[in-house]
């Protein structure tokens, strides 16, 4: 294990993660709203925002799938040291991290009729993130908003699965936005 694997975590885990969670929660409650996060310095190619999300939500109870874009030994070591989360196939993952191109979206758990919450949350690393592009409507959104989604039809199909479906967090550098299954992508 390289020494820098030990670095880049939260300085004060309880307080840093409380701020980070509020940002993530607000993002999930208000689809399309972009938040800036602080506190983690993960090894490349993981973005700061994606690192903060993993530190805040993941532990030995949450198996993670790393897409080929993010599956390096260095990143595995960092996640293992800071969260203890095991690495699994897409089918078994609670969280997944990767670029849109590299995430096998149709392989993840979408929940069951009686437990729609047993579904994966995908952290999609993006080159840009802005309130332009696809029009979003639905819970959490007053009237409508817009977000630079990597695609539109995949998110339309996902919303059609409601109450089943995947939930997405888009990350770019130190910023993120979320798209739960309830959001209607126009």
């Amino acid at each position: 294990m390289q020494a820098h694997v030990l670095e880049g975590g939260f300085d004060n885990h309880a307080v840093d993660s409380s701020h980070a969670f509020r940002a993530v929660m607000t993002a999930m409650a208000r689809p399309g709203q972009i938040a800036t996060l602080q506190g983690a310095l993960p090894p490349a190619p993981l973005s700061k925002a994606a690192g903060v999300v993993l530190l805040t939500l993941c532990d030995p109870e949450t198996p993670i799938y790393l897409a080929p874009s993010h599956d390096s030994q260095q990143l595995r070591d960092w996640i293992t040291f800071h969260t203890g989360a095991p690495f699994v196939t897409a089918e078994a993952a609670i969280f997944a991290v990767g670029t849109w191109q590299d995430l096998p979206v149709s392989a993840f758990a979408i929940g069951t009729a009686e437990y729609p919450d047993r579904s994966a949350t995908l952290i999609v690393e993006c080159e840009s993130l802005s309130n332009t592009g696809a029009v979003l409507r639905g819970p959490g959104i007053k009237d409508q908003t817009a977000l630079s989604l990597p695609k539109t039809d995949a998110f339309q199909s996902n919303a059609a699965l409601f109450p089943l479906g995947l939930d997405f967090i888009f990350t770019c550098s130190d910023r993120l936005a979320a798209l739960p299954r309830t959001t209607r992508v126009g």
Binding site: V15, F21, R22, T56, P139, T182
Partner: protein, 289 residues
């Protein structure tokens, strides 16, 4: 503060609750199971709400707790002090100053802003429980959107009482999908469930968390010939004169004298500070507060 975990709960428990909250927000009105922890207070004191608050509070928050609209009951004071001590939050009794409000049985009269969060203490999260005691069955009913029995029960009210008698915990349908128990708020509060703030619901004993994101459609169940009506006592507040607030009725003397006053004490006090005086009220003085 250093003798405690931040906000009392350990980090792994908070992560588990935080993940449940996110799924709750993604599936509005659906009850997410979570592993409720023992809290240093009895279940009747809102341990579900307390655990949700513990998972969302940051040291920058200003926290308010209301119990049936009042900030000064033993329950409300205890929970406020608990987070003041364990999370280092500022506390307030003013709705407009709070960033997080934990509530038992009321929604504040003052409309919440989009930077405010309302956390409900929930005793029985399952709206179908009194129709069907089995959790396996109610879960199946939700999955199949089998809500006919709920309508039958409300309609029986009408045939027996000439009106829908359910006055508290009046069931709602969220975003056209899940029927949800809004906790024992008076049905007067139901229209306020569509709001700008985030609403989170925690049931400790029953181990359920659910949520309503801002601007989510929340419809009280009703019938074409008996539309939902958010009723309240047909009276004005005797202290502040408000005609738009939910009222508590108080017996004030042995002769059976009655008085109506706002159940939301901060709303009433704010109005009195602004010079409003009800039929039995006296002008507000800072010392008298």
């Amino acid at each position: 503060m250093s003798d405690y975990n931040f906000a009392y709960l350990d980090e792994q428990t908070k992560r588990m609750i935080r993940r449940a909250i996110l799924k709750g927000l993604a599936i509005p009105g659906y009850q997410v199971p979570f592993a409720s922890r023992e809290m240093p207070m009895p279940y009747g004191w809102g341990t579900g709400g307390v655990q949700v608050s513990a998972a969302i509070l940051t040291p920058d928050d200003t926290f308010k707790v209301i119990d049936q609209g009042a900030d000064d009951t033993t329950n409300a004071v205890s929970i406020r002090r608990f987070f003041q001590k364990t999370a280092g939050v500022a506390v307030t009794e003013a709705t407009t100053e709070a960033s997080v409000i934990q509530t038992r049985h009321r929604i504040p009269e003052q409309d919440l802003r989009d930077d405010q969060i309302l956390v409900y203490q929930v005793p029985i999260p399952e709206p179908l429980r009194f129709l069907e005691p089995s959790e396996v069955e109610t879960r199946k009913m939700h999955s199949l959107e089998e809500y006919g029995l709920m309508h039958v029960k409300l309609y029986e009210d009408i045939s027996q009482h000439g009106d829908i008698a359910t006055a508290y915990a009046y069931p709602v349908k969220v975003e056209g999908r899940y029927v949800m128990d809004p906790s024992p708020i008076p049905k007067f509060d139901n229209p306020k469930l569509e709001m700008a703030g985030i609403q989170l619901f925690g049931a400790g004993r029953e181990q359920r968390i659910y949520a309503i994101p801002p601007y989510t459609q929340v419809v009280s169940l009703d019938f074409d010939d008996y539309p939902f009506q958010p009723t309240k006592a047909d009276h004005a507040c005797d202290l502040c004169g408000a005609e738009d607030s939910y009222l508590d009725e108080l017996i004030v003397d042995d002769a059976g004298g009655r008085m109506f006053m706002c159940s939301d004490t901060d709303y009433c006090t704010s109005r009195r500070k602004n010079g409003h005086v009800g039929a039995q009220g006296v002008p507000f003085k800072e010392d008298a507060a």
